[in-house]
Amino acid sequence: MHPAPSVIIFTTFSGLGFGLLAWLGFDASPAKGWAAFWWFLIAFGFACGGLISSTFHLGHPERALKAFTQWRTSWLSREGVCAVAALFVMGLYAAALIFFDTHIPHLGWIGALLSLGTVFTTSMIYAQLETIPRWNTPLTSLLYLSYAITGGALLSGRVTIALILLLITTAVQLLWWKQGDSAFADSGSTLGTATGLGDRGEVRSMAHPHTSPNYLMREFIHVIGRKHAQKLRIISLGLMAVLPVILLLLPFTHVFALLAVLSHIAGVATSRWLFFAEAEHTVGLYYGMR
């Protein structure tokens, strides 16, 4: 799949933003007044910034409101509904904390659950697609949720929990990569099944229908970036988990904490780039490519 920057920015930052909102919502003794303002500013900034960036790849963003209508069948629609509900409830919760010095725990819990629901619905947009075997697994939801919860813990300064979660997320990521690497082969789709000619012998693509790449090839076949996939996986884990863990284990300073967060974000973005670049769509089969 084409790793479009808008989608990578969207999944990275909205994941972190809603992860942070979830922690803020569940917090039993949250900050109030100005202190609360800064936390919520970061969380809303990330969540909304991500959502806004996701509209950049739309052909007609001005019709985006229509995307809230089909929540009965469409995960993308559900994500929109869930995101708006989460932002609304967390907005009320934040306003109570910031302006009225009032903590309404139940509102926080609802908002936190909706925030995690948003991350889950995002993950389902990808996990539902049988056309992309690497994504078509419940592990994809686990992956997105672990990243969001871990990032939220790190951003909200919960050092001990973040340390444990970074290790768990690393394990989930490794597991996801491992199962993903054989997913296409396991799915059983080949050029043979795609053309129905497989039982007559080996099928090879002899001539494409067009002389230069079209929308389908640009969108679904991304071969160049995969060359460095293994190196990028190591870099991604290093930035996402290893460096933050080291920085958090050192004696606490704000500089180290900030560096840990920045490194984590860069690592998540790298992982998301790989999420798209490494994903192979069944359309590639028709072009004799993956």
Partner: protein, 256 residues
């Protein structure tokens, strides 16, 4: 809108004959021609005369080579357009309701006024049957020429999809698969019509007829005994000419 109908009255679709298709791309051109000036936004081209030209097409023809172990390779031209799946994943993923499958005839369409161009339906289609128009920012796909097949302004002979009407080899057939006596149902039954990627459970309506087996050199013809040479040596006048010609220089050496 994006829930699929539980069943459709008719199942309109195409049969594509991989044995007959000669790979001329006439259906590609007639499809583009009809659909660029009828249903919905025109089908744009990018850099049509420049480097790396690109454009929106609703129908494309691939060419494949199939080779069984120890046999010679066979070329198969492979037209591909929307298969109007019964279990269309492209419809259910659509967040706006722009994509829908008609309950009356099973045609899968995009309402372009509602489409936000998110591209998710193209991601969900296993076959690459949907293309996002780069100029209009809306999703384009085969309409099964819905604006021809019911069009009373056209002569009856033209009330069939443009690609079917154009195909010089008669490799494309249009009809109702819900009717067991229709031309397409019969062709499918007779020739073993196949689904593409059946493992994905999309239940395509369109069917592909496999290429018929080719003649092989190994099968002895029943006429073979009558084709045995009846004489090895030339006699009479021809024999004399043969001898005289053989005397002249310039003959190939092995013959003598």
């Amino acid at each position: 809108m994006t829930s699929l109908p539980t069943s459709t009255e008719k199942k309109l679709g195409l049969v594509i004959d991989l044995d007959t298709c000669v790979g001329c791309h006439a259906c590609v051109i007639s499809c583009k021609g009809w659909n660029t000036e009828n249903y919905g936004a025109p089908l744009s081209d990018q850099r049509p005369y420049g480097e790396e030209p690109m454009g929106t097409f609703l129908n494309r023809v691939h060419s494949y080579e199939v080779q069984a172990e120890g046999q010679s390779a066979q070329t198969v031209h492979f037209p591909k357009s929307c298969l109007h799946c019964e279990n269309a994943p492209c419809v259910t993923v659509c967040p706006t309701g722009a994509s829908y499958k008609r309950a009356e005839d099973g045609i899968v369409l995009v309402n372009e006024q509602d489409c936000i161009g998110c591209g998710l339906c193209a991601w969900a289609c296993p076959y690459g049957a949907r293309e996002l128009d780069q100029e209009e920012g809306v999703m384009k796909k085969c309409t099964l020429c819905v604006d021809r097949i019911y069009n009373e302004n056209l002569p009856e002979v033209d009330r069939t999809p443009a690609c079917v009407r154009t195909c010089p080899a008669g490799a494309r057939h249009f009809g109702d698969f819900a009717d067991p006596d229709s031309n397409v149902s019969k062709l499918t039954a007779e020739r073993g019509g196949m689904d593409l990627m059946p493992e994905l459970g999309t239940a395509p309506v369109n069917k592909y007829l496999p290429p018929r087996p080719k003649d092989s050199w190994d099968d002895e013809s029943i006429l073979a005994p009558f084709l045995e040479p009846v004489a090895d040596e030339a006699k009479g006048l021809l024999g004399w000419i043969d001898k005289q010609l053989s005397r002249l220089p310039g003959d190939s050496k092995e013959e003598v």
